[in-house]
Symmetry: C2
Subunit: 444 residues, 2 copies
């Protein structure tokens, strides 16, 4: 399905501020998934300048075509740069650089939640005056497109409330305290040893990071200025293991939630350990994963789940913002987002595989005569088909009936192999039923 | 935080084709949430024409300013209409109307998954030629913004696979079969009586509806044409209750999944009952809810959950598309999506409430002397504060210690009342510890 080819456009040129975990992730993914990203964005997106404190270290890691400098203000003022990606973090030089980039009419992508939570109103006002885009999907919940869901996906709704597990470190600690019955201090020390918590963990465990994020989410959900300074914040360091156990007995699990709720008199904005019913999906978000629960008056309850931090998930969000900016700088408004996500002349003709070629694992149930050798015959047929068995259940034989059910789970195989094996199994004189075959997906 | 006021723009004029469940939902929500939507979109969105088979019935239900006709082609050709919303459904007249609307350079919003699954490639090609937007968030998974997540939120990723519970009727039936141990036929009859399943349920239970949706999702995920005709489809009508029970014993739950998976040789596109590990969030999506699990190479695993059908959830998606179109027709590209979701001059100054005014329920734990009257004193203090108790646990007293733990869950109250009550409780001579206070959220 090829449409009229469009003329090739020059790449969008990105100036990258900071080359730590996320910065290097952004640069690497832009190279690794270049084709996939170009097919969606309509043109290439290239990092052309990087500003870091130690240029020598970074020069050794990146392509020679990228200019590396220790002068970040040169980058944000460079007329050749289309978009500035700010990944320095913090509220110091990052703020000056953002404002200077905006003053030079650069579009900006940032994952800096502290900066937006504290100085967001100032930054957004400056950007509005200059018609500059400030995109910040990476600032909240890593790769989960929760900013996009709230700003664009749920625009029909009065948002009633939202509640999010938006700090992976504290969720990991709470999961471990519950699973292993260990006290807070011990789990924190483990988390630090594993790299899940910083040497100075107060920013996470005292709830500050979650409060930055929920202040941003609340602004977007309710159409209010960002008001981190008004948030009520309570962390998890005082949480006793016995409360986790008592809560379980009552049918609840304890999570550190960022909550924003509309009330007749105003908005509640708060971060604290919270008991939530164990049966809710949100209660079952474990380890370092993030999830945000949003209640809109029209859509009802929705939830968004994924990795909330780390090199690649955050890079996923930053690059999604870069694609948004690129589509906006490139297309007629009507063609901003291609109907099928990829540009019409960039659809691929990858084959849809026939059913016989599908690869999955299988659940098999069959009724057999309850006598020696039956199972050996069946497993030999499976082995001949190169199908290996992952688990098996055998029902107790029915009284006097002389027959029983065998249930097997196989490892991954190709569908036509299973069909051939079933054909042979059903021909065995000891097999009394058709074989029930269901497919199994591990989702990992 | 008021920015320069923008001149008021005339409303965006919507022509609505069809006024059934979803159509009336769209019209009603556009009126009910008019302010909230205008603050986000930057101008009003108004239904000005409706085409239905029986205009008299609809005229009685809508504002007199809306012109109601039985001539849908008049609506799609009307120069005064900016956007056509197609909610007739099916692949007959809906297709002719869509193509005619596009020929007249109308932007189109539709929730018609059958039409897009079968004739999508033709419709998208026509729209690309005419620079018309075709927006279809409502076609898959109701109000969950999964199309937006895939088209815009995950653009950094090579999508490896996706798996979705994208048909609420079948998920309701499977949940009931498992919970109540009832056979398929009986649950189906119940679902029909409750209105969860159609009188002719084959479209849902044979997996056709899910296959329409997964064909659309696969096209967007992988950048391939829509290929419903190549999908492998197997429904749930042959599913035996005993397989649901055996699967549970093995640690699995059976869901009807729509699966699209990238393999070296091509794409797998399939709908069938599937065993998935019970511990996965997707296995715990019950009843008529929908969820889509997406695995991208950069972001890792993400999940999107919500109501997959019905009047209001689908209206939420249709109106989100209308806001997208409105923002595109209204703004400079740079200002298409406001930084904080609402237009800068439309932020509200709703107060953030002080902590004492927060409303929630509470978990209280305290150590008391194990003697008569203790509990009466505590519950009297709570009653004086108008705090009612939802549940209570009392630990067995420690041997010889003469003291015990009391744990209580309260109903909703205001934080300053709980603080006052705790102050009085801690003053009781029989109370031996500070009161541990945690907040509880039911998330409903």
């Amino acid at each position: 399905m090829t449409m009229s080819a469009r003329p090739a456009l020059r790449p969008i040129r990105v100036g990258l501020l900071g080359y730590g975990t996320v910065g290097s992730g952004v640069a690497e993914v832009l190279v690794a998934n270049r084709e996939e990203i170009r097919r969606r964005a309509g043109r290439d997106i290239e990092v052309t300048r990087i500003a870091v404190r130690n240029p020598a270290r970074v020069r050794a890691q990146v392509a020679a075509t990228i200019s590396v400098t220790d002068q970040p203000f040169d980058v944000v003022r460079d007329p050749a740069i289309d978009v500035v990606v700010e990944l320095i973090g913090g509220t110091g030089i990052a703020r000056d650089l953002l404002l200077e980039a905006i003053a030079h009419r650069k579009h900006v992508v940032t994952a800096n939640k502290a900066l937006l939570a504290v100085f967001g109103n100032e930054v957004f006002a400056a950007a509005s005056r200059q018609n500059a885009i400030i995109a910040f999907e990476g600032a909240v919940a890593g790769g989960i497109p929760i900013i996009k869901a709230l700003r664009e996906g749920l625009t029909a709704n009065r948002i009633d409330w939202l509640a999010g597990i938006i700090n992976g470190t504290t969720n990991f600690i709470l999961s471990e305290m519950r699973d292993k019955g260990l006290p807070f201090d011990e789990v924190l020390a483990q988390a630090q040893a594993l790299g899940y918590a910083e040497a100075d963990p107060s920013f996470d465990i005292d709830g500050i990071d979650a409060a930055h994020k929920v202040a941003i989410l609340a602004a977007i959900a309710f159409g209010i200025p960002v008001q981190f300074d008004r948030a009520y914040v309570e962390g998890i360091s005082a949480l006793a293991g016995e409360d986790i156990r008592y809560a379980e007995k009552l049918g609840y699990r304890i999570k550190l939630l960022g909550i924003a709720k509309r009330r007749p008199a105003g908005i509640e904005l708060r971060v604290h350990p919270t008991l939530i019913p164990t049966r809710r999906l949100l209660a079952n978000v474990e380890g370092a994963m993030n999830a945000v629960w949003v209640k809109g008056d029209v859509v009802g309850h929705t939830m968004y789940f994924g990795k909330g931090a780390g090199k690649e998930p955050t890079a996923s969000a930053v690059i999604a913002d870069l694609v948004d900016v690129t589509r906006m700088l490139t297309s007629d408004p009507e063609n901003r987002v291609p109907h099928l996500a990829f540009q019409p002349d960039e659809l691929s003709d990858a084959t849809i595989l026939p059913a016989g070629e599908m690869e999955t694992s299988y659940y098999l149930r069959l009724r057999v005569r309850d006598e020696p050798g039956v199972l050996a015959d069946i497993t030999r047929i499976l082995a001949d088909g190169r199908i290996s068995i992952d688990a098996m259940l055998q029902r107790e034989p029915d009284e006097g009936e002389g027959s029983t059910d065998i249930i097997m789970l196989t490892h991954q195989t190709i569908e036509h192999r299973i069909d051939t094996a079933i054909h042979h199994i059903e021909a065995l004189p000891t097999v009394l039923s058709k074989v029930t075959r269901l497919r199994v997906e591990q989702l990992n």
